[in-house]
């Protein structure tokens, strides 16, 4: 086990190139997607959509790197990297964004330091309220959730 972990490093989970999966996945650490996935991915670690991979659906992740194709909404607390071969269609919420020349991105984009904090609270509803105070942000969300 220890060997396999050290080999995989950041990505204990790798979804192979010939895999076609539909559904809901959640991880604690990084994921590397080489095949096709349709559904929801939630992870605290990194998500890598490799070149040739196709991902459609909602994604919530720590940081994301896209080399392949993705359609759907994307939320990241950390950084989103779009490589030159990347194609992203959908809404994007992230703290930091890096777009390489040649990448395609069509959709609503919300980039800012506040976004990462808001999404780390785990609610997309928190985005509407400006979370200027990082400590109070989670409380506000809790209140908002209670009202709903």
């Amino acid at each position: 086990m220890a060997d396999s972990q050290s080999i995989n490093g950041e990505f204990p989970t790798i979804i192979g190139a010939d895999a076609v999966i539909k559904g809901e996945l959640s991880f604690e650490k990084g994921v590397r997607l080489l095949g096709k996935f349709d559904g929801e991915i939630t992870t605290k670690g990194n998500l890598v959509v490799a070149d040739g991979a196709v991902l459609s659906g909602e994604v919530k992740a720590g940081s994301v790197q896209i080399d392949g194709q993705m359609s759907g909404n994307l939320e990241a607390t950390g950084k989103v990297k779009l490589a030159a071969s990347a194609k992203l269609e959908g809404d994007l919420r992230t703290a930091r964004l890096e777009v390489a020349d040649g990448a395609t991105f069509i959709g609503k984009c919300s980039v800012g330091p506040n976004n990462g904090k808001a999404t780390s609270g785990g609610g997309s509803s928190s985005g509407s309220a400006p979370a200027d105070k990082p400590k109070g942000g989670s409380q506000n969300q809790a209140v908002a959730a209670g009202k709903r």
């Binding site: 777009v99 020349d101 990448a103 980039v111 800012g112 330091p113």
Partner: protein
């Protein structure tokens, strides 16, 4: 004239029609050779808020730290260190510095968002040239598509023997060839290429007119007319200068 033309020039894309113009290196403004509208070639440095309807230039726009723009921007490159709110159409690169904020819409082939920047916008980031207007900067690629499509359409129509669709496709093919020839030709070779274009369009329309003879022939004559009426302008202007 020749001496001038061999002097340093640069190519700019018209902000109105998307046509390409060769202009002197240090020119500040020029009239578009295609749509005859005035083009501004200067770079804009926005250091404070100015109540303008929009920034449209073939050069760059730089919004400095204290600068604020609440208007559409149409430029070759854009650097934002301050605040921009509006529709941004850029043919080159958009760079949002750490202090920059952009809200609204962005259409550009490439974008750089430096850490700390804020961006709340509908983005269309595509490697293809941005449509600054109706006739896009990527005229050639569109033409290629159109050139291939009408042929297949006409073939299909001929196979199905539907004569009604013919005039449309013929008109399309002629119009596309016209548009294709126009921006590419330099002034010297204009007369040669125009004749070549005539023969081309004639050949094409003939090729398409075989199934439905009457409407296509009218299209052909109209196309040739329009070319012959439009053509003389460019040589005249050169001789005057």
């Amino acid at each position: 004239m020749r001496g001038l033309r061999t002097a340093k020039t640069r190519e700019v894309v018209c902000t109105h029609c998307g046509g390409r113009n060769e202009v002197a290196q240090r020119a500040m403004s020029v009239f578009c050779a295609h749509c005859k509208k005035r083009l501004i070639l200067e770079d804009y440095n926005v250091k404070c808020y100015q109540a303008v309807a929009g920034y449209a230039t073939c050069g760059d726009v730089i919004v400095h730290k204290q600068g604020r723009v609440a208007a559409p921007i149409n430029a070759a490159n854009l650097t934002v260190k301050g605040t921009v709110n509006g529709e941004v159409r850029v043919r080159g690169r958009v760079e949002i510095a750490a202090t920059g904020t952009v809200t609204g819409k962005i259409a550009a082939p490439s974008i750089t968002v430096i850490d700390g920047a804020r961006l709340e916008a509908y983005c269309v980031i595509k490697p293809e040239p941005v449509d600054t207007n109706v006739k896009s900067a990527g005229v050639i690629t569109k033409q290629d598509e159109d050139d291939t499509k009408p042929l297949s359409r006409t073939r299909a129509a001929a196979a199905a023997s539907i004569p009604e669709k013919q005039p449309e496709t013929a008109a399309k093919s002629t119009s596309t060839t016209k548009a294709e020839v126009k921006p590419v030709t330099t002034r010297k070779t204009a007369s040669k290429t125009s004749t070549a274009a005539k023969t081309k369009t004639a050949a094409k329309s003939e090729g398409t007119s075989k199934p439905a003879a009457k409407p296509a022939t009218t299209e052909k004559t109209s196309a040739v007319k329009s070319i012959s009426t439009r053509r003389p302008r460019t040589p005249q202007s050169t001789t005057k200068k």
